[in-house]
Every structure is written in C-alpha cells, then in structure tokens.
C-alpha cells in the first residue's frame, strides 16, 4: 500500500528569466533527478518555467508559528527601514 518510501520533494519554478524561483507544490520521487523530471511533467506542462529547483522536504528548516513574537515581530518595529517613514518637504514630490 505504502508509497512513503518515495521522498517528498518541494518544487520551485522560475517562470521567466529575471524572476525568483517560486514554490509551486510538492511531489513524490525516488531521488532528486527523478523529482526534477517529474516536476517538469507535473508543474510545467505548459512551459510555465525556465528553471526548476527541487528540494527534499526534510532538508527544509522552517520558522515556527509559535516563535512569531520573538522571531518576526521585532522586525516590524524598525519602521525607519522603510522609505515611507521619512517625510519629504512639500516641494519635493519624488525621491
């Protein structure tokens, strides 16, 4: 019954040159080469990509939801990192 001995791979597709690879989903495969080929057939049937990455899911380290308070929120408070934080004199409307 089991098919979990195939590994789960996360698939990332670069849709056009100059753009980032974007996560599109996952699939099961025996190894990374096979995963790459399956990714081509599963996620780029309409030539949606110019380049594909596959990453075995267990190799991804992710931030945790419960860490948001210490991990993400402090970054929110540094408004001075955004251009909108600064007020320009009226005479200048573009900078």
């Amino acid at each position: 019954m089991n098919q979990e001995y195939l590994s789960t791979y996360e698939v990332f597709v670069r849709s056009a040159r100059g753009l980032d690879h974007k996560h599109v989903g996952s699939l099961h495969a025996e190894n990374s080469q096979q995963a790459l080929m399956y990714a081509r057939d599963v996620y780029t049937r309409r030539s949606e990509g110019v380049s594909i990455w596959v990453v075995e899911a267990i190799n991804i380290t992710a931030s945790q939801e419960e860490d948001v308070e210490s991990f993400i929120e402090p970054m929110d408070e540094k408004k001075y990192r955004h251009a909108s934080h600064y007020q320009l004199p009226d005479k200048i409307d573009n900078m």
Partner: protein, 258 residues
Amino acid sequence: MKDEINCTELENLTRFLIALGDDSVIYSHRLSEWCSNGPYLEEDIALTNVALDYTGRARLFYQYAAKLEDNGKTEDDIAYLRTEREFTNLLIHELPINDFAFTMLRQYFMDVFYCLYLQALSGSKDESLSAIATKALKESHYHLKRSEPWIKLLAQGTDESRQRILRAQAELENFTGELFLMETWEVQLVDQGIAVDRSLIQLEWERQVSAFLAESNIQFTQTQLQVSGGRCGIHTEHLGHLLSEMQYLQRTYPGMKW
C-alpha cells in the same frame, strides 16, 4: 522519363512518411493505455507525456505525407481508414504494454534507437523531414534520460523486478532486429540522401544497449532469426485488435466530422 523517376521518388517518400507515422501512432496508442494505470500518479503523468510526444510525431509525419499525396486525404484518413494489412509499422511498436517492466524496457530500446536514428535523419536532404527529426530528437533525448534509470532500478531493485525485466527482454529479443531492416524503397531513399541507412546504426545501438545492460549484470541477447514483416503489412495478431478499437468511430460513422 524524368517524370517517372520523380513519381517513384515521391511515392517512396510518402510511403516512408506513412511508415514512420505508423510507428509513432501505434506506439503512442500503446503508451496511452497507461493513462490512469500507472504505478503512482507522478509516473502516470510522465508516461502520458511520452505518449503525447509520439502522437505529435505521428501527426507531423502523416500531415507531411498527406500534403505530398495531395489527394484531399488528411492525417486522420491515413490513421483511421487503412486496414491491418495496409499499416506498415515495425512490429515492436504494436506489442501490448504487458507490465511496467516490459513497457520500460521496450521504451529504453526505442529511446536508444530513436536517439541514433533521428540524429541521423535530422541530416536528411528533405528539409521538412529533417525538421521533424530535429524536433523529435529532443523528445527522445529526454525519454532516454527517463528510461535509463528505470531499467537500472528495476534490474537491481528486487528479485521480482529483475525477473520481470529478464522476462521482458526474452519477449523483446525477437523484435529488436527489425528496427534495422529496410525494404527496397527505403534503400532507394537512403541512396538519395533522404532516409537513413538503418544497418549503419545497428552496431552502435547494440554497443550502447549491451554496455548499459551489463552494468546491471544483464547480457544483451537477440535471437538469430528476427521476426519481421511490419513494413509489408504482416503483423502480429495484436494489431487488428488495436485498430478495431482505434478506428471504431470512424468506421461506424463513415465520413463524418468530429
């Protein structure tokens, strides 16, 4: 006199295109039988893609043949309105899909063959033919990248998968030789630089296949006397059933648009 020569040349070329189209259409039909029957979903999708590549090829060959024949017939008339004795595909294409091992081993044999054959055919003096070959060659390169690891995996996986590969090989060893045979008309096309001398590919094909199978401790074999006859319309019993299914609608409701 000159016209007569051109006439045979044209006839030969059309015959050749239809034969190549038959190879592809029959093979794609077999592959399409895997749709919703694959060992898992990813592989199901991948197999269908190969089937689609061959359907595409068949259409290009037939369309070109129809254009040359110029008698109002279409690709579909060629595919759907000829009988089993008129089909000229090489027999290996029509064998039933059997199990996954058989399907993959045949695929592997074909892939090695088509990589060599289409490479050579892409140098054809006939520009349209060369263009079709160039396009198809890219597909076959990819197919080979898929079938090679599968053969290795199945040959080295479990006892059962290895047995299945060996059994498949025993069933196929009668049929691989026909890939390298030619009728007189094909030889004439070779002399004109339009077709490719199949016999020149044979050695390289056998070298690649035996070296690759040896990596999995399988000895490549071919029977002394190879079964042949496809190009003359002498087929296995399987083709009639395949056609009766494939042509069912066109035969039941003649002359209609779909």
